[in-house]
């Protein structure tokens, strides 16, 4: 399988108010247009529902990593204290379960947090030094953006996208073209 060629031609619709933006998304999706990317400066409540995204499975990953930590901590301490080098600490049992609870808890949290953050970084393409495509610098400042892929689309279709954005309260609609490998 060859790499899928990335599209370089986009239309950008920019909004300045998140409620207008959410309504616009509903209307645009209702008209059957495909939204390529959605960019906002902060988490907008209800955005994933408006876009029809399914729920993230990150918390499941967090649970699985946490369970790994629990199992590892309990089994390692059991092996050390009861099998590998049993020592008598003031007549305490060789398998003092209550004493294991603090470390088991800490390792559960440690594994869950690290595992989840690493999963998060991988799934979100967050790697130090990775240079992302910036469609519009103001999307991390004060603009809510919808990006439409127009590669191979007719002038008529492009016009439809633009008029829908304008008709739904966009403050700016423009073309954005990237060079290959940008």
């Amino acid at each position: 399988m060859g790499a899928v060629k990335q599209s370089n031609n986009f239309v950008l619709g920019l909004w300045d108010h998140e409620e207008v933006f959410l309504h616009a998304i509903e209307h645009i999706r209702h008209d059957g247009l495909e939204i390529y990317e959605t960019l906002t400066p902060f988490p907008v409540h209800g955005l994933e529902n408006a876009l029809g995204y399914r729920e993230t499975r990150l918390h499941t990953a967090g649970f699985l990593f946490g369970a790994t930590g629990t199992t590892l901590a309990l089994s390692f301490m059991t092996w050390v204290m009861a099998f590998n080098y049993p020592l008598n600490f003031g007549g305490k049992p060789y398998w003092p379960l209550p004493s294991f609870i603090p470390i088991t808890f800490e390792l559960t949290v440690l594994f869950s947090a690290w595992g989840m953050v690493l999963t998060y970084c991988v799934r979100n393409k967050l790697i130090p030094g990775y240079v992302p495509r910036i469609y519009e610098p103001r999307t991390t400042d004060d603009r809510f953006a919808l990006v439409f892929d127009i590669e191979g689309k007719s002038a008529e279709e492009i016009e439809k996208i633009k008029s829908l954005c304008n008709g739904n309260g966009a403050v700016e609609v423009k073309n954005r073209t990237f060079k290959d490998g940008e």
Binding site: F42, H59, V80, Y85, F89, P102, G129, I134
Partner: protein
């Protein structure tokens, strides 16, 4: 779409704002140079140098250069350790527990408080490591396969639990803090002019762009990290208190320690947040984002936790008397009226009596009172740990070995130096990182800002209603001046 907030609630963002202004004002501290900042950096940097010098002295000559003696074998080192760890707790409380409780006022202060947590834990970690003496063998505390048997660490020991608790706490706090920082670094990147600056902030932002899917995962991540950090922060100070509570020493061996230590930690942490934020909001002109309302909310937590700590002190005294156990009774009698009475007096007056001022609203909303009391609380909480640790050890079971602890210049230099290290890190943070969580502040803008409330009042035709006008335009708030 938005849950409209009652107009009776004070706004969390004052002044006439929009998203553009918020970005400009919150990024500004990273884009300018401040003479005062350089001055402070030089002073605290020098103190951090003193810290390194005094620690090197300790490592070179051994723990004997501290004021410890055969009876008092834990003193300022562990006092400082517990003090710094306690200070760190407010950061996690603000970012995690207040997130779970949906307290929106956290958005203005969480970033700086989390940074404070991380720097405080760095300072705290130094003390147990260096008090080991042969610091080059510090890795012995980790369970690793070794050639001595292998002889493993003792999983029954609270000191070992502490190793796991503190290191987990540090690394999870770091993850929580940094995952929130990425979007804000992207904001700085996208408005920076210079190529190098853009590149550096891009690396720091991990290439964040703010797509809807990224934000969806971001919200899930912060919620779960908050859910994990909440029991974590409670467990950390519980385990720190176990270091004492499981030792069979009168004055330490009490079951009240875990909740008492946790309340004390939150108490001292909020005080430190206030000390820092009162200066930061003034220097970087962030009064609209860290409002008097924020300060008042923190003061309410201070009076609550301060009173819990007060009740714990009195409960300890009562239980000591009620136990009928001579040594326990002596430990507490000696603590309050013995040779360290002055430390006990400092503790009681700073921690229990001084915060009671916050029952009165004018004090809660007065910035000078808050600043002075926050320092009192910091002093009082340091003395609390000193009282618990040193008075319990100094007069032990054998009268012939009773001793008095006096710090050496090395003890004092390490303590003052650790404040220097903390402040140096905090100053660097203030200058190069966004001090206020930009994206999070924007997310409460539509519900809780003065601007949004005024707009809503106008739409509802209530603008002329005196009360609404008064509370919505937070600018009228006279206490802020």
């Amino acid at each position: 779409m938005h849950a409209y907030e009652s107009d009776f609630r004070e706004p969390l963002i004052n002044g006439n704002k929009n998203y553009t202004i918020i970005t400009d004002e919150l990024v500004a501290p990273t884009e300018k140079t401040y003479t005062g900042w350089w001055l402070l950096l030089i002073i605290f940097g020098a103190l951090a140098g003193l810290f390194i010098f005094a620690l090197s002295w300790t490592v070179f000559f051994g723990i004997g250069v501290w004021g410890l003696n055969k009876t008092v074998d834990w003193a300022w080192d562990i006092t400082n350790f517990v003090w710094w760890i306690g200070i760190g707790h407010a950061g996690t409380l603000i970012s995690a527990i207040l997130l779970l409780f949906r307290q929106r006022f956290r958005t203005g202060i969480n970033r700086a408080a989390e940074a404070m947590t991380i720097f405080a834990v760095i300072c705290a970690g130094m003390f147990p490591v260096f008090h080991m003496g042969r610091v080059w063998n510090a890795f012995f505390i980790f369970p690793y396969p070794n050639t001595r048997g292998p002889l493993w660490v003792n999983f029954n020991s609270p000191l070992l639990w502490d190793v796991f608790a503190i290191s987990t706490y540090f690394s999870v706090s770091l993850l929580f803090w940094y995952s929130g920082l990425m979007p804000d670094f992207a904001t700085i990147r996208d408005r920076s002019k210079g190529k190098t600056r853009k590149m550096i902030y891009n690396i720091l932002s991990f290439g964040w762009t703010g797509t809807a899917k990224q934000w969806q995962r971001f919200e899930s991540l912060s919620l779960i990290l908050a859910g994990l950090s909440t029991p974590l922060v409670l467990s950390v100070h519980t385990i720190v208190s176990f270091d004492f509570a499981t030792s069979v020493i009168p004055g330490w061996h009490t079951t009240i320690f875990p909740p008492y230590f946790v309340a004390g930690a939150i108490f001292s942490g909020f005080a430190m947040v206030e000390t820092l934020m009162l200066i930061v909001r003034k220097v970087f002109k962030l009064e609209d984002y860290i409002t008097v309302n924020h300060i008042e909310s923190m003061n309410k937590i201070i009076v609550l936790t301060g009173s819990i700590v007060g009740i714990a002190y009195i409960t300890e005294l009562f239980i000591a008397w009620y136990s009928g156990y001579m040594y326990e009774q002596f430990a507490f009698y000696n603590r309050a009226l013995g040779k360290y009475w002055w430390a006990y007096f400092m503790m009681m007056s700073c921690n229990v009596i001084s915060p009671q001022a916050y029952w009165f609203k004018p004090f809660r909303r007065n910035l000078w009172v808050t600043f002075v009391l926050s320092i009192f609380v910091n002093i009082g909480m340091w003395f609390e740990r000193f009282v618990i640790i040193v008075t319990s050890l100094a007069d032990d079971f054998l009268v012939s070995s009773w001793a008095y602890f006096q710090p050496s210049w090395v003890d004092i230099s390490i303590f003052i130096g650790s404040i220097g290290l903390f402040m140096t890190l905090f100053l660097l943070f203030c200058r190069f990182f966004p001090v206020i969580a930009i994206a999070e502040v924007k997310s409460v803008f539509r519900t809780s800002s003065a601007t949004a409330k005024a707009e809503r009042a106008k739409q509802e035709g209530l603008a002329s209603g005196g009360f609404v006008g008064h509370t919505t335009f937070g600018i009228l708030d006279k206490d802020a001046k």
